[in-house]
Assembly symmetry: C2
Homo-oligomer: 388 residues x 2
C-alpha cells in the first residue's frame, strides 16, 4: 500500500426533507445572498428548487439564478456566473442538481476569487488559491462532486474537457435528499449508475496491487450498484434503493477508494469517453458503457490480473486461466450494461465509421494517459475501433 | 435508510515514515509546546517516540510527557494530564499509541478547557464545549479513536467505563504509520483485530434493515480482517497486511458504517465486555471474543435475520432455514476466534462461576441497553452464564 493523505471536509446532510436543515448553518455563517446554480426543468420537477427557495425566503437570504447549466457544463456558463458574482450581493454559491451544477458552482466560486479568466486554472496557466463557500443540494448522484474538490468543465472553442481540483472547492455542506432523484428519467438513472460503476472500476483496474482491502470494498460497491440499478428501473420510487444509489454515488469518486493506490485511478476510459461527449454530445455515462469494455478488451491479454480479480470479486468467476477469467469478467460487465439498456457500441450512439478518426485525434491530444497501460495515439485509435 | 449527518474533520496522514509530515502543520498552527500522551515500552519499541521527539526538536517545539497510560485508561491519569496543561506551556496534545492514548489525550484536551472536573462530562453532569487541538500518532489500530470524536475512560471508584463525544474531540491530524505496529505482541494484534471485527458486527447486528449497501461494505470489511489477522500471526512484519489492518481499524468505528442506521449500533457486547475488563482486567478484545458469541446465541432464535444475513455475507452460508443459518454463522464466528487464539469463554479468562453474578450486577447498572433487543438485568445474567 502506498502512502497517502486524506481529508474530506464536506459536511453531508443526507435523507428525506433535509433541505430545511441548511437554514441554521447558512444563518450561522452570515450568508446574505446566494447564487443558485442549476440546469432546468428537472430542478423544478424534483421539488428541490421550491424547497430551497422556500428555505432561503424563511431565512431572509436573497438569491438569484444561474440556470440552464448543461450536462458536460461549459466554461461560458461559468464566466457568466463569475461576472454575476463579481457584480456584488452574493456571498455563497448554491448548486442544485448533479455533477454539472456542482462543477459549475465550484468553477464560479473559484472564478469569483481569481483576478484572471478562470479557464486559465483549468488550462494549467493559473493557480487555484481560494473560492467562495459552496452549499449544495444534490438532485442526481454520479459524480461525487458533492463530496470532492474536483470541477470538470468543457470548452468547445479549444475542444477540451478538463478538471481542476483543490481543498477550497469542497462544498461546506452538501444536502443529499435521495427522494429528489425519484423523478429522474430512467436513462439518467442508468447512465449515472454506469458512471458510478466506472468510477470504481477506474480504481480497481489501475494495475496497482497490494490494496486488497479497498479492492474488496470496491467490488462490494459494484455488486451493490448492480443490484440497485435494475431495482430502480423496475421501481423508480423505491426510496431505499435511491438512498443506496446516492450513497454509492457519494463514495465512488470521493477519493476514498483511491487511498493507498499508486495513482488516483486509471481514468483512460473517462478520457476516451470525454471526446465522445464533447464531439457528439453523448451522455457521460453512455460514453463510458461504450468505451470501458472496449478499453478492457484491448488490454486484458497483456494484463489479465486486475480483470480476473474483478471476475472473482464481482461476478463469482473462479474457474479457468487468468486470461479466460478476465475475458469472462469483461463479457459479464458488458452483459450487465446491455441488461440495463446502456449502449456498448459507438454505433448505438449514432456515430459513423469516419467519426472514429475524429475521436482518436481529439483524445490523442492528451496522450500518454492511463496507468494500467499508458496509451499512445495508436492505442487510442484501436480502442475506438473496438468500441465501434 | 434513516436520515443522517456526517462530518469527519480529521486529516489522516497514512504510511511509512510519515511522522515527519507533522512538522509543517504544527509550525503552521503556531504550536509551541505539546503534551505527549502514551503508555510505556511499546511506544519506545515501535520507534514512534523517537521519531516524534526528533521531529519536535527539529521544529523547535517543547514537549513534556504524560506516560504510563494503561489499557482501559483511567480518569486519574486524565486528571494528572489536565493539571499539567493548566500549569501552562502546552498548546496541543499529542497521543502516541492506540485507543487508550488517544482517548486519554482527548479527555485531557477537553479537561483543560473545562472549569470543573472532566469526569462530570462523562457522567452527564457537565457539557463538552471545547478542547485543545489534538495531533496524534497511532501505533496500535482498533478503536478508530484516531478518526472519531469519542473518548472512553474508566473510573474504578465508581466502577464505570463510559464515553463522551463531540466535534471538538476529533484529532486535527492523525498520523497512521502501519510499520509502528510490526512490533506489537501477537496477542495485541489478535485482540485489536477482534475489536475491529466487533465494531463492525455491532452495526450489522443492530436489528436495522434497509441498509443493504453499507451492510455489504461491512461484510467485506469483516472478510478482509478475517484474512489479515491470520496473515499477521504468520508474518507479523507483512507491511501490506499491517496497512490493511490499520485501514480497517480506521474505518470500523469512525461512524461511517453507522450511517443510515436506526441507531449508532447495538453495542450490548461492548457494554457486557466493559464489565469484564473493569472488574477482572481482561483485554478489551478478549472480553469481546468471549461475550459476543454468547450474546448472539442468546438472541438468534428470536432474531435470526441479521445473523443469517451475516452468514451469507461473510461465511457463504446459503442453505437451511434462517435459524439454522444464523446458528451456523455464530459457530463460524466462534471458530474463527478460536483459530486466532482469542478466548471464547469466561473460564479462559480465569473467572470463577461466582464471578458471573458480580459481572451481571455491574453491567446491569446500565440496563436497558442494546438495539437488536433491549437487554434487562435477567438477560445480562443469562448471557454471562452462556459465556462462562
Amino acid at each position: 500500500m502506498h502512502n497517502f493523505q486524506w481529508i474530506s471536509p464536506t459536511k453531508v446532510i443526507f435523507g428525506k426533507d433535509t433541505v430545511k436543515e441548511l437554514e441554521a448553518p447558512l444563518k450561522a455563517a452570515g450568508v446574505k445572498g446566494v447564487l443558485l446554480v442549476y440546469g432546468g426543468k428537472g430542478t423544478f420537477k424534483s421539488g428541490a428548487y421550491e424547497q430551497v427557495t422556500d428555505m432561503l425566503k424563511r431565512a431572509g437570504i436573497a438569491f438569484s439564478d444561474l440556470n440552464d447549466v448543461k450536462p458536460n457544463p461549459l466554461i461560458s456558463k461559468v464566466r457568466e456566473g463569475v461576472a454575476r458574482v463579481k457584480a456584488g450581493g452574493i456571498d455563497a454559491i448554491m448548486p442544485i442538481g448533479g455533477g454539472s451544477a456542482f462543477d459549475t458552482a465550484k468553477a464560479v466560486a473559484a472564478g469569483a476569487c481569481y483576478s484572471g479568466d478562470i479557464w486559465d486554472i483549468y488550462a494549467g496557466k493559473g493557480k487555484l488559491q481560494d473560492a467562495m463557500p459552496i452549499y449544495g443540494v444534490l438532485t442526481a448522484s454520479a459524480s461525487s462532486s458533492e463530496v470532492n474538490g474536483i470541477s470538470v468543465v468543457s470548452n468547445p472553442e479549444t475542444q477540451d474537457k478538463i478538471s481542476m481540483s483543490g481543498l477550497c472547492l469542497y462544498p461546506k455542506i452538501s444536502v443529499i435528499d435521495p427522494s429528489f432523484q425519484i423523478t429522474l428519467p430512467e436513462k439518467q438513472t442508468v447512465y449515472g449508475g454506469v458512471d458510478i460503476i466506472a468510477h470504481i472500476l477506474e480504481r480497481v483496474l489501475d494495475g496497482d496491487t497490494g490494496n486488497d482491502l479497498l479492492d474488496e470494498q470496491s467490488y462490494a460497491l459494484i455488486r451493490s450498484m448492480m443490484g440497485v440499478i435494475p431495482e430502480l428501473i423496475e421501481n423508480p420510487k423505491d426510496y431505499d434503493a435511491r438512498a443506496d444509489y446516492a450513497m454509492a454515488g457519494m463514495m465512488a469518486h470521493s477519493g476514498f477508494l483511491s487511498l493507498g493506490r499508486k495513482t488516483r485511478g486509471d481514468f483512460s476510459s473517462h478520457k476516451l469517453g470525454h471526446s465522445i461527449s464533447l464531439l457528439y454530445g453523448a451522455a457521460h455515462g453512455a460514453s463510458l458503457s461504450v468505451v470501458m469494455p472496449a478499453w478492457a478488451r484491448y488490454l486484458y491479454v497483456e494484463n489479465p490480473d486486475p480483470f480476473a480479480r474483478l471476475g472473482e470479486g464481482v461476478f463469482d468467476i473462479y474457474d479457468g486461466e487468468d486470461e479466460d477469467r478476465a475475458l469472462e469478467a469483461i463479457e459479464s460487465l458488458e452483459d450487465f450494461f446491455k441488461e440495463i439498456n446502456a449502449p456498448t457500441t459507438l454505433r448505438e450512439l449514432g456515430l459513423k465509421e469516419e467519426d472514429i478518426q475524429k475521436l482518436a485525434d481529439n483524445a490523442s491530444k492528451l496522450v500518454p494517459f492511463g496507468s494500467l497501460k499508458a496509451l499512445n495515439a495508436d492505442d487510442v485509435l484501436e480502442i475506438y475501433k473496438l468500441a465501434y
